[in-house]
Amino acid sequence: MMRKITLLATMILINAPAWMQTNPLIGIKDEKHLVVAFTHATIHESSTKTYSNATLVIKDEKIVDCGEKINIPKEAKVIDCTGKHIYASFIEIWSDYGLNTEEKTKSVDAALYWNDAIKTDFSAYKYYAHQKEPAEKWRKFGIGTMLIHKQDGIMRGSGALVTLADIETGKNIVKDEAAIFCSLEKGSSTQDYPSSLTGVIALIRQFLYDVQWYTAMKGKAEKNISIESYLQLKSIPIVFDINNKADIFRLEKIAKEFDLQFHYMGNGDEYERVDGLTSLSSNVIVPLKFPKPYILNDPYDADIVSLEDMYTWEIAPANLHILDSNAVKYLITTAGNGSPNDFFKSLKKAIQYGLKKEKALYALTEGPARFLKVETELGTLEKGKWANLIITEEELGNEGFCILENWIRGNQYIIERGAEAIDIRGNYTIQSDEGLVNGKNFMIKGKLNSPGGEFFINDTVKTSMEISLDKQLVTASFLLKDIKSFMRISAQVNKDKLWKGIIENQKGEKLAFTATYTSALKEEETKKDKQVVSYAEPRYPNKAYGWKKSQWKEAEVKSYLIKNATVWTNEKDGVLQGYDVVTENGKIKSIGKNLSCTGCKIIDGTGMHLTSGIIDEHSHIAMTRGVNEGGQSSSAEVRMGDVLNAEDINIYRQLSGGVTIAQLLHGSANAIGGQSALIKLRWGKTEDELLFKGAPAFIKFALGENVKQSNWGERHHTRYPQTRMGVEQFYYEMFNRAKEYATKKKTAKDPVRKDLELEILCEILDGKRYITCHSYVQSEINMLMHVADSLGFKVNTFTHILEGYKVADKMKAHGVSASTFADWWAYKFEVYEAIPYNSAILTKVGVNTCVNSDDAEMARRLNHEAAKAVKYGGLSEEEAWKLCTLNPAKMLHIDGQVGSVKEGKDADLVLWSANPLSIYAKVKFTMIDGIIYYSEERDAELQAYNQTEKNRLVQKMMQTIKDGEEGVSPARKQFFLYECETMENHDYELIQIVD
């Protein structure tokens, strides 16, 4: 029997009658039973089914009937909804309503996951309490049901679905655990790790692997509440809070890795990457917070607003329309809109920009219901579902739309004046004992619930009327200027809009007053909105210098013939005068004299120099939210490939300096840094498309002052290691741990926990991953080579390596390459003996050497840096040129594909106006895979186009503000960011960018 009851309880939990409550009943029982019929309404039963002049009947908490020809039960209370619309109440997915934010302190030593940002043990329903005032606020948005969760941490635990009726807390809970919530922000955790986005992603992956392992251990693993809580939640949707559209693609990789499906709480910028979203089955929850136009009355101010921000302002309202047209699944959230008015204004705007009304309704009702698998109870007004409904004036998305009543589980909540309030707008004629007004006309217009009026003294002279409404009672007053006196009216208005009451004149006499409705307002007075909207085709990146889709066709030339250039081959042929080069399908097809080529696009290279593209071995551009996971001394588990940012303008800037390839490195905050990413600077392509396909795997290591926190300030004097001695021992410790791990994987009977950090160290020991090590002084360089030799691996590259010249012979013996600065020194103590002759000495001793930038500005001038080896140390011009092309290709093990001008290699080519080592050389074009990504001509065109677009948008913003939209003062974002970046760009790259 007991079991049956429990089963029944779960099935019909949402409609639990009083006998199911556990609370003791005090006093006399007063159960509410109610039948209500809403008549003559336009009823939007679902997003696809609408009845006009229809009836909806509810009984207690449920809808019992809905349609055009419905029998109204005798016992029903009838609410006349003539002219009104009825919709299902909205379901809000994103909220922290009703949660006791002060979480009960849990025992520090509880069996939880080691990292505090993993809060899977948190279940919102356990901390939820119905709160009247906030509930009232949300009901005004039209919301009947809300999914609530605690917005703190990376894995945030489960969210609960609750209704917003003023009833018992327990009764309001619809579904205890309706979704799992996650984010990419550490939140309130006081632990150092993770300090960057790359660390956050690594932590999520490690946690999910730990879950797999825990399951495989079948109870043999040490108890872990966080993992067990997560396991219990399987099969409910996982929602990720993201910072921008690119995060979706970062997280999709994790979803694939673990065969999961993620959904995303978006930002409104998803349209910029809509192509990639089309194929996803995830839902994107989209807020309707649109940027305001900038106040640009001052021409100087316009300069500090970026074209990117202007485009965002222009296109963001079309986000939903664009997503919808591309078959992306989306839900709408009110999060980000401060007031119902704000939200409905934005919704109206989205509809003006092309979103269909029924789609908007779906995304607010049925969509979320299906998403949370409560579509049998919620989301439409079909028979049998919950009586969660809103009665509105006007159709959703129309001018004048407002919510009059919000019914939740059969409980009525009047928002404005209620559904039965009379619309008094129209034209009237007065009959009154007051001769001054008798026979005169007046007009009531404006908003339904806050109308204004005009009293006609005669056909041409008007005076405004103050109107206030309270249900059927209307008060009105107006000034008669000629007698300088106010007339005041108080009247009852009936359904036929007949006013009956009194008027008090200037003498204090209360006289009879009636007014009869004569006609409706004319069309123009109801201010129908007929604004035509237009917006630019989004560029990618959607900012200055971004590409339009149509421009790619023009750029994707199959074949080029560059004629009569001085070709720096970097091969045995050396520098060839007056040679031609033909590219085809992204490769170098042929090099020779007087080549001909049918259908080729011809570029005259007379007097110019053609080289292979510059390769920057050490770069930190095109990444986002932290290049250092400095929380721990080893962060081998983090991957720079996870945090690429294809929209960094520095990609374009460096193309203008002839750079085609950059190795993106983790910073040097810790001895074992993160995994590197190798990119080609394909500006205008997405993160994944930037990656150099098939590039060998690398990891960043670091030595010296940064690793031992010498310049981090007084607070940082405890993390091991604090000396170079400790650095050495730290490596021994970590690699020995990795060896033990590898052995254990081979021999252990039980499943071995996958350790992402040690996995990577094993790859190094197995020769599957190369090391680039940040290093300066000779002792530490020597030390790491010893560590490597004794543990049986090789160091591939010493990067920076400013004292490499002191141990060049040892480096040659170890077979390591050197990637150095041309002439930097004296920025910290460990570089006080750095000399600009370093690269020349290393080259002459026989170490494969290159120059790197580690600096977004200098990267544009790596040809200058290479040329300095001619000045300091007397390398030949050809040797010097290889320092920034072939030599880095060799050390990255990609010289089979790039690094020289050779038939069959990638067509990564740069045409220079002069000897590329000369200060006077300018880049004419930079080509990657046979596509010209930068050229002087295209740059000039883009600059002109940027200016045209900016002018257009300035005018448009001015007009919008003139038309009554609220504006904001120009942001100073660009200047500020620039400063922050400069701080971080230096070689003390360890400084945390994420605060």
Binding site: E308, A826, E833, R861, Y920, R972, Q974, N985
Partner: protein, 439 residues
């Protein structure tokens, strides 16, 4: 040619004895004539076949041999320049040279005094002639510099020095040449805290308070100057007096166009005599204003990124051409990252302006005569002219290009200075270790 070679060879011998630091050169005692050189005069002209003569540290002969031929037997030493390039010593402006050695070592940093308003501090007495960085800068042709305090609102007073001296007294050309004032940027929070960066009003308020601080000390200085007798000595007002008497230049560090107009208008209204804009990134947008107010500029280094995403990627490279064509008197500094040690690249920054529009001699002029004019030392320095200091160098090739910048000889006040430096000695030392030959 042979003579020059002999000469250089002799001078190599002498260094063997020198330690890690080059010894400052002794006073010129013998008159010297150098002939068969291309003279980059510094005023925009090039003498293809020239000769110079100098006695007691001053030029007494600068001649274009293609036009007139002079009798040459009056000089003690005659050097064949072998057709190489002769330039006036390059001038590094707005630099913390001598005030900092190793950026990350606090004990070596001396350019930022505590407090917002510190006009009383002056660079000269702290300027370290022993900095190991200085000889590496001379190596590329920079022979004169302006050593400048930094940060705060009024950073202090800069000094002009020559780069071969036993001590700061020897080095000084001008001890207190001007005051450096940093005008707050309207588009940037001065000391941003997290909450304030989002609040327009907080920014404006803070900025007004900050500007108020500058105006307050200026007001008090004007009052102080009117006092017949000072009851209380005020070091800050004493330091600022020179701005109103014309003895000191106001180096006004300001970048945004509206800030330039606002600050210049203010300082002119209170009677500041000579204003040089430093940074002046957006000056190119208000050329008319710059011209009408006869302002000269010390713009940022050329090798910089544009300041916003939208700007021309090459804007900093093209800036010199834009300003030159507008007829504005300007030079550029090497202010910023890797500031002092990187300033040996000053000549190559000038080279870039040639790639982006200037004539080579105009580029030379930027870091010679223009810099000298702006610093007010052009009577004495900045070009190869009779009567001026014999502060110059000879390079084997084009000094504005890193491939060919290669100094053979350099003189400051006629004293032939040592070019080798600690970095060169390490080079020799390790080439020796590996049995490689230094060419």
């Amino acid at each position: 040619m042979k003579k020059l070679c002999t000469y250089i060879w002799m001078f190599v011998i002498t260094i063997g004895i020198t330690a890690q630091k080059p010894t400052p050169a002794a006073k010129q005692t013998k008159s010297i004539r150098i002939y068969n050189v291309k003279i980059h005069v510094g005023n925009g002209t090039l003498i293809q076949d020239g000769e110079v003569g100098f006695v007691n540290g001053k030029f007494d002969r600068v001649n274009d041999n293609s036009k007139t031929h002079l009798i040459s037997n009056s000089y003690d030493i005659n050097i064949d320049g072998g057709g190489k390039h002769l330039y006036p010593g390059f001038i590094l402006t707005n630099s913390t040279i001598g005030l900092r050695e190793i950026d990350a070592v606090r004990a070596t940093l001396d350019y930022d005094e505590a407090g917002d308003i510190t006009p009383e501090v002056r660079a000269i007495t702290t300027y370290s002639t022993d900095s190991k960085i200085i000889p590496t800068i001379r190596f590329n042709g920079v022979l004169i510099a302006q050593s400048t305090p930094r940060y705060g609102l009024i950073s202090g007073q800069s000094s002009i020095v020559q780069l071969d001296a036993w001590n700061w007294e020897d080095a000084a050309i001008k001890m207190e040449d001007g005051l450096h004032i940093n005008w707050p940027n309207r588009n940037m929070m001065i000391y941003p805290s997290k909450s304030e960066t989002d609040d327009e009003n907080a920014l404006r308020k803070k900025r007004n308070i900050t500007i108020g601080k500058i105006k307050d000390i200026m007001d008090r200085t004007l009052t102080y100057m009117k006092e017949a007798q000072h009851e209380v000595y005020n070091g800050k007002c004493e330091a600022l007096k020179g701005l109103f008497t014309g003895e000191k230049t106001l180096y006004l560090h300001v970048n945004a166009e509206k800030d330039i107009i606002e600050s210049v208008t203010y300082f002119e209204s209170i009677g500041v005599k000579k204003i040089v804009l430093v940074g002046a990134y957006e000056a190119y947008k208000i050329i008319d204003f710059i011209q009408q107010h006869h302002l000269s500029l010390m713009i940022d280094r050329i090798h910089e990124l544009p300041k916003t995403d939208d700007e021309d990627v090459k804007l900093p490279y093209r800036m010199a051409k834009i300003l030159w064509d507008a007829g504005i008197l300007f030079t550029f500094s090497h202010d910023g990252d890797m500031e002092v040690m990187g300033s040996r690249n000053l000549p190559f920054n000038a080279g870039t302006t040639v790639a982006y529009g200037l004539e080579p001699e105009q580029a030379v002029q930027l870091i010679t005569l223009n810099a000298a004019k702006i610093l007010g030392i052009d009577q004495q320095l900045g070009s190869i002219e009779v009567g001026k200091d014999a502060t110059f160098f000879i390079s084997n090739g084009d000094a504005l290009d890193m491939m060919t910048n290669n100094l053979a000889l350099a003189y400051i006040n006629g004293r032939q200075i040592e070019l080798k430096n600690s970095q060169y000695y390490l080079y020799e030392m390790y080439m020796g270790k590996y049995g490689l030959e230094v060419k």
